[in-house]
């Protein structure tokens, strides 16, 4: 790994990549490149050691079995914990979001998570499937969240994690709040390629990782059209 380039790690695509999660890696790399930031991307499989020296870590969604296996291997490996302690930024999606908390349920059993976000997850009575929309925590300075959710979990935040958004359509964590953030870790139930509909979150991760106060604007005509269409489709 060279020292100048921005290093982005995709955690365990062999286990957690059910809904086009690769999209987030592609979008981050593209938006960095458009700002002239050199990027190196790494897909780290579950049988490989997790590097601790990257700048941004991405983790995606998946089924119960792979989710539990991924949590176990990440706890044993320790690389992600070291990376977070060194100030790395994280985007965690759906099953990946749950496993960043203290605990989650998979295949009927309570499983230990990484404990890097102050939250825990259990099972809801119904599956949350459909368009998701929310007003993002004003401290993050982002436009409304748009996403598609498909999960059976409900997530409960402790005092050291902040809701990413207040839900205006869909379920998210519990019908009231959606996702969580703390430090430079951001988790959401907006599954799969969440950054396609939320390029501002991609830029937030890039700012966290580079320390830049702002980034040069890019042409987001198509992303804005997509956002407008999906936010309207979700209703209010």
């Amino acid at each position: 790994m060279s020292t100048e380039a921005l290093r982005i790690v995709w955690i365990y695509p062999d286990l957690l990549s059910t809904y086009g999660d690769r999209g987030n890696l592609l979008i981050l790399a593209r938006r960095a490149a458009l700002r002239g930031i050199p990027v190196e991307t790494y897909s780290v499989r579950s049988d490989q050691p997790m590097p601790a020296s990257a700048d941004i870590y991405l983790i995606g969604g998946g089924e119960d079995g792979p989710q539990a296996l991924a949590a176990q291997r990440l706890i044993n490996d320790g690389g992600v914990h070291r990376a977070v302690n060194q100030g790395a930024a994280v985007l965690a999606i759906c099953a990946g979001y749950q496993l960043f908390g203290h605990s989650f349920f998979a295949k009927g059993a309570k499983c230990p998570g990484l404990g890097l976000l102050d939250l825990h997850s259990d099972r809801g009575e119904t599956r949350a499937v459909g368009e998701l929309r929310g007003d993002v925590d004003p401290r993050l300075g982002l436009p409304p969240l748009s996403g598609f959710e498909n999960h059976g979990g409900r997530t409960h935040l402790g005092p050291n994690a902040f809701p990413l958004a207040r839900v205006t359509a869909g379920i998210g964590n519990d019908g009231q709040t959606e996702g969580a953030w703390a430090g430079k870790i951001l988790g959401t139930y907006s599954h799969g390629p969440a950054l396609a509909r939320n390029p501002a979150i991609a830029d937030l991760l890039l700012r966290w990782a580079t320390g830049a106060d702002s980034l040069a604007p890019v042409d987001d005509t198509w992303a804005e059209r997509l956002r407008a269409e999906r936010l309207a489709a979700a209703g209010a």
Binding site: D14, S17, T18, Y19, G20, D21, R22, G23, L26, I27, R30, D47, E63, V129, G130, F148, N150, H191, G192, P193, A196, R197, W222, A223, R225, L226, E229
Partner: protein
């Protein structure tokens, strides 16, 4: 046939005719639905006395069913569900409508394969491939393979014809002792990197594959594609002339020949019939309009998008996607598809979810132009070939613009 079944068959035919007359669909489902209400065992009764082949898999089953039915036509009349109505209601309708035929080739939805095997007691079951398809509803790929494996283990008399290139299919087929292997390739590999037997990684090299932790590996296929033809179990090569595009359809032809061989049809007899198949419910159909030669390709999941790119010529290409119920409401699969093969072709996009496609293509670095209607697309491209690749309901929308071409 018991009297109850006879009554049910007769009502089933009438309902199908009524449904067609009322302009509601092609009648291939509603008739079977009513028939099964009157006699829940109607499908079993209708299947009795016929030699039946079932064709299942995530992709290619409609085309392979059509090709296999054409091949079996050598022996006599063949009943088949040619409208792609691939659940038991559709099978019931197809058999009732066909009357007494000695043979039937039925396309079967993956989820329904165990039940349809139970009810129709087929001579042959062809297993094509398993990959992700509308994940917000479908079962996991590994669960589907397990379902098949268990079903086949319960029917040791069935001859299985299975794709040696798909690890999930091979593992499922090993539920049976009587398997003929064909090689139809596996363009989409992202759902079979983990061994379904042992959970170990699967390695691939030059078309071969093997599990790194257990004996599961690619069986040697008796039927395979080579150049523009198919090699049979005796080692003889046969030129395959199809009117359907792409190496994917050569693989489907190899499968159809393997199925036909289980009924005693030799490739040399079947091949002329395969070459008569031009299009299937609009798929691969070519329509000339305003000096443009429009060809329709259906792509309903990541694997079939890759296949469509392979079939399409280097020509202006219109992509159209919707996300209605039959398509799945979630468009995140767009990021499972690499659109790079389109690079260098003029690309147009349309459909209800064109903006999802626009953002995806931008990330992929593929220039494109958005058009609001199919008419606008036609006006935008120069005379000559226009390839149209669309997902399920978008495909039906465009087919409707072209007077429901078959």
């Amino acid at each position: 046939m018991p009297l109850r079944a006879k009554v049910a068959t007769s009502v089933s035919k009438t309902a199908a005719a009524l449904s067609r007359a009322a302009g509601r669909g092609d009648g291939s489902v509603i008739g079977g639905w009513i028939g099964l209400k009157i006699d829940p065992e109607l499908l079993s009764h209708l299947a009795t006395g016929r030699a039946i082949a079932l064709v299942s898999g995530t992709n290619g089953k409609t085309t392979t069913t059509r090709l296999a039915a054409a091949a079996l036509g050598v022996l006599g009349p063949v009943a088949t569900n040619s409208f792609g109505a691939n659940m038991p209601t559709g099978h019931t309708s197809a058999l009732a409508k066909a009357g007494q035929t000695p043979f039937a080739v039925l396309e079967v939805d993956e989820h329904y394969l165990p039940r349809v095997i139970d009810e129709t007691k087929p001579r042959v079951v062809a297993l094509l491939n398993l990959s992700r398809d509308q994940l917000d509803r479908a079962k996991e790929v590994a669960m589907m393979a397990q379902l098949w494996r268990t079903a086949l283990a319960g029917h040791p008399d069935v001859n299985v014809v299975a794709n040696a290139d798909d690890p999930m299919v091979v593992w499922a087929a090993y539920g049976s002792q009587k398997v003929t292997w064909f090689s139809a390739g596996q363009r989409w590999q992202d759902d079979s990197w983990v061994c379904p037997e042992s959970g170990d990684p699967i390695e691939r090299e030059n078309g071969d594959w093997w599990c790194t932790g257990c004996p599961l590996r690619r069986p040697i296929p008796q039927w395979r594609v080579e150049d523009e033809g198919v090699i049979d179990p005796r080692g003889d090569w046969h030129l395959v002339k199809l009117q359907l595009p792409g190496t994917v359809n050569l693989g489907n032809a190899a499968t159809a020949l393997a199925v036909a061989a289980e009924f005693g049809v030799r490739p040399i007899e079947a091949l002329p019939r395969l070459s008569t198949v031009t299009s299937i419910a609009g798929r691969y159909a070519q329509v000339d309009r305003d000096g443009r030669n429009i060809r329709l390709l259906l792509a309903k999941n990541p694997a079939s998008w890759l296949e469509a790119f392979d079939m399409a010529e280097q020509a202006p290409t219109l992509l159209s996607i919707n996300a209605r119920d039959p398509d799945g409401f979630d468009t995140s699969w767009l990021y499972d598809v690499d659109f790079a093969p389109l690079y260098g072709r003029p690309v147009l996009i349309t459909g209800e979810r064109a903006y999802d496609l626009a953002v995806r293509l931008e990330v992929n670095g593929i220039p494109f132009q958005h058009v609001r209607t199919f008419e606008e697309a036609l006006a935008t491209v120069p005379p000559g070939r226009l390839e149209v690749i669309a997902n399920y309901t978008a495909f039906q929308d465009i087919r409707a613009e072209l007077d429901r071409v078959n």
